[in-house]
């Protein structure tokens, strides 16, 4: 069998070289299909993981602890006191960053405009490795600490309020006692984020300063960024056990739209891969079937000389797998090369408004996963093998004598 396989490989490769033009076209078709699959796969993965990271960065973290009912009615009255530090709630090394915040709905008013926002009290040091606030570009100054009673606004919000750095705005919010408060803030910084949603959504100040102004004893949420996302369920279990009176949510339940889109991206990847591979399979069947019909006299002669039909079938299979292997390798390399060339990302600035609606960043950076490459390679071989069976069967279905006479079945 080993000898036979060596012979088959030699025969197969020579046959492929005998029909250079046809096989080069077939190889190119496979390569283009695979390269486009690898590239589109990397782009969809890039979008998918951007969306997940944005959802986690958007003041959610991997896990968040809130009081019961807070998500439905996020008021200062639902604040809770924390006697332990957030880090002590989970095993050491399990948490990359954690933060306690006060977050309430509010209205910001300037001389000419009024906008609804979420008023967020933070400790800026806690946010550094936890949320977008840790890496955001700030025009002006950042907050000096948790007791800094000045305000950060997003650039888009400042523009819509027709206000600017250094100006004063009035923020209206309900205090812990349920009474409404009007708070005067000086804008100390204007932050820029890649999209406009976060710039419009938040007004940020020091956590302890806000607690004093709203009469809040405690915080309204604790966010955790985990070192290992696979430990999410285990970490949630530990938090639920440590804080039985509170609720623990993961980023998927906090941002169900992003979670749904994340899963949809998985499904769309498989659908796209299936479409490309089915098209590839049909192309392969068509090309090989034509080649087999053209070589009917050759197969008839081989069988008349004593070649076993199984070896004829194997020869056709080997030829198709060789060309598929070459095409898949070339296509995969080309796809990886495209991904490398686009490593800095694709600037979607021209379609920023539309892209933002789908939760995309302005720059889409492709992300290549090893598992996806393996899947593409394996699936290509499976489809190529299945696609080769019919032409191979056609090669042995014609009796040798009939084949030598040049007639077709």
């Amino acid at each position: 069998m080993t000898l036979a396989m060596g012979l088959l490989l030699r025969l197969g490769s020579r046959n492929l070289l005998r029909h250079r033009r046809r096989n080069a076209l077939l190889l190119a078709a496979i390569a283009v299909g695979i390269a486009s699959t690898v590239l589109s796969n990397a782009l969809i993965r890039g979008y998918q993981y951007d969306m997940r990271d944005d959802a986690i960065d958007n003041l959610n973290g991997h896990l968040k602890v809130v009081a019961p009912g807070y998500l439905d009615d996020p008021s200062a009255a639902r604040a809770f006191a924390l006697t332990l530090t957030p880090e002590s709630l989970l095993p050491s090394g399990a948490v990359t960053a954690s933060a306690t915040r006060i977050r309430v709905p509010a209205v910001v008013q300037s001389e000419r405009e009024t906008r609804g926002v979420e008023l967020v009290g933070i400790d800026p040091a806690d946010e550094e490795f936890l949320s977008f606030l840790g890496s955001v570009d700030i025009d002006g100054k950042g907050l000096a600490g948790a007791s800094d009673g000045r305000l950060l606004l997003g650039r888009e919000l400042a523009a819509r309020l027709d206000t600017q750095l250094g100006r004063r705005v009035v923020v209206m919010a309900l205090g812990a006692d349920g009474r409404h408060r009007e708070l005067g803030f000086r804008i100390v910084g204007v932050f820029d984020t890649p999209g406009r949603n976060q710039e419009l959504a938040y007004a940020v100040t020091g956590r302890d300063a806000l607690a004093r102004q709203l009469g809040v004893a405690g915080v309204t949420e604790i966010s955790f960024r985990l070192a290992n996302e696979n430990a999410l369920d285990e970490s949630r279990r530990l938090l639920v056990a440590a804080l039985p009176a509170l609720q623990v949510h993961d980023w998927k339940s906090l941002d169900p739209l992003a979670a749904g889109m994340f899963e949809l991206a998985d499904a769309s990847l498989l659908i796209w891969l299936s479409i490309v591979l089915i098209a590839l399979g049909f192309g392969l069947v068509n090309a090989l079937a034509t080649a087999v019909l053209e070589r009917a006299r050759e197969f008839g002669l081989l069988r008349a000389l004593g070649m076993h039909p199984r070896h004829v079938l194997e020869q056709v299979l080997v030829e198709s797998l060789l060309v598929t292997l070459a095409g898949v390798l070339v296509g995969t390399l080309a796809g990886c090369l495209f991904v490398l060339l686009l490593a800095d990302g694709i600037d979607l600035g021209a379609w920023a408004t539309g892209a933002e609606l789908f939760g995309m960043r302005q720059v889409l950076v492709p992300r290549l996963l090893f598992g996806d490459l393996v899947l593409v390679l394996l699936a290509s071989f499976v489809f190529a093998s299945l696609g080769s069976l019919y032409p191979a069967w056609r090669a042995i279905a014609t009796p040798p004598l009939v084949a030598l006479q040049g007639s077709r079945t």
Binding site: V107, E111, T114, T163, R168, L174, G184
Partner: protein
């Protein structure tokens, strides 16, 4: 509808501060350093203007005109007030708006629409906004006390007019004040009557101005019977409120300023 009502409350609250005026005035003469040094404390002047309406119970009939470059809308209103914080207001014309009513007590505000027979409590965030159709805002009424609490007051000019001293006061909000304005300029007479109130943004550009347009005697008091709030950043945008009847220090049942009263539509 609620915007109309709110605008009216604002107008009404400020209106009672606008006491007798003569015709159009000009600032006659300029102040000397002696006049400025002998002038009363601006804080006392503002406090006196605020005290004019504290504790007053009144009944009034008014008309309101909202003017825009391409249209104008007139409404007729009756109103009862208790002090500076509480008011019940009903629209009586035009027929489309008749029956609509608004109740304001302290920090809360409700509206009633007879067509749907529902009382709706307005969120506090809406109470801070100006109404789209009118040039008044709720803050124009409720924040008068704030001038004493959150502002640095400076008397910058003294002039004479109609046998009264007229003072120009610049009110600059303190840094931590919950105030959006960069400065407010007021013209007050020596009898604590506010003649003009201009709101400037933080670049000190004027944004809107409230001024007395006519004077009359109603309910035994002489005061500005017609005031106009003008949006200084838009052409031909103003809202004018005119008293057609006013009774002061009338006996009003406290039950009048309740949600039940708002919905029942009863008069005292």
């Amino acid at each position: 509808m609620e915007g109309c009502s709110r605008a009216f409350v604002a107008a009404f609250g400020l209106l009672v501060l606008f006491l007798p005026l003569s015709q159009a005035w000009s600032e006659e003469g300029s102040s000397t350093s002696d006049e400025l040094s002998n002038a009363p404390d601006p804080k006392q002047l503002i406090a006196a203007a605020i005290d004019l309406t504290r504790g007053t119970r009144s009944y009034a009939e008014l008309s309101m005109v909202i003017h825009r470059p391409t249209w104008e809308r007139r409404s007729s209103i009756v109103a009862w007030t208790r002090g500076r914080e509480d008011a019940l207001i009903r629209f009586v014309a035009p027929p489309r708006d008749a029956g609509n009513a608004m109740l304001k007590t302290d920090e809360s505000m409700w509206t009633f629409a007879p067509q749907i027979n529902r009382v709706v409590r307005l969120p506090y965030s809406m109470m801070s906004q100006g109404w789209a159709g009118s040039d008044f805002s709720y803050n124009d009424l409720s924040r008068t006390d704030q001038l004493l609490k959150d502002y640095d007051l400076a008397l910058v000019l003294v002039s004479s007019r109609d046998n009264h001293q007229v003072y120009r006061i610049e009110a600059t909000p303190r840094d931590d004040a919950a105030v959006v304005w960069g400065r407010e300029d007021l013209l007050l007479r020596d009898d604590a009557v506010v003649l003009e109130h201009t709101f400037l943004d933080q670049a000190l550009a004027p944004v809107k101005r409230l001024e007395a347009r006519a004077v009359g005697t109603l309910g035994g008091r002489t005061f500005a019977t017609r005031i106009r709030m003008t949006d200084l950043e838009s052409n031909e945008h103003w809202t004018e409120v005119e008293y057609t009847r006013a009774d002061f220090d009338v006996a009003l049942d406290d039950a009048l300023f309740t949600v039940f009263s708002l919905q029942s539509g009863r008069a005292p």
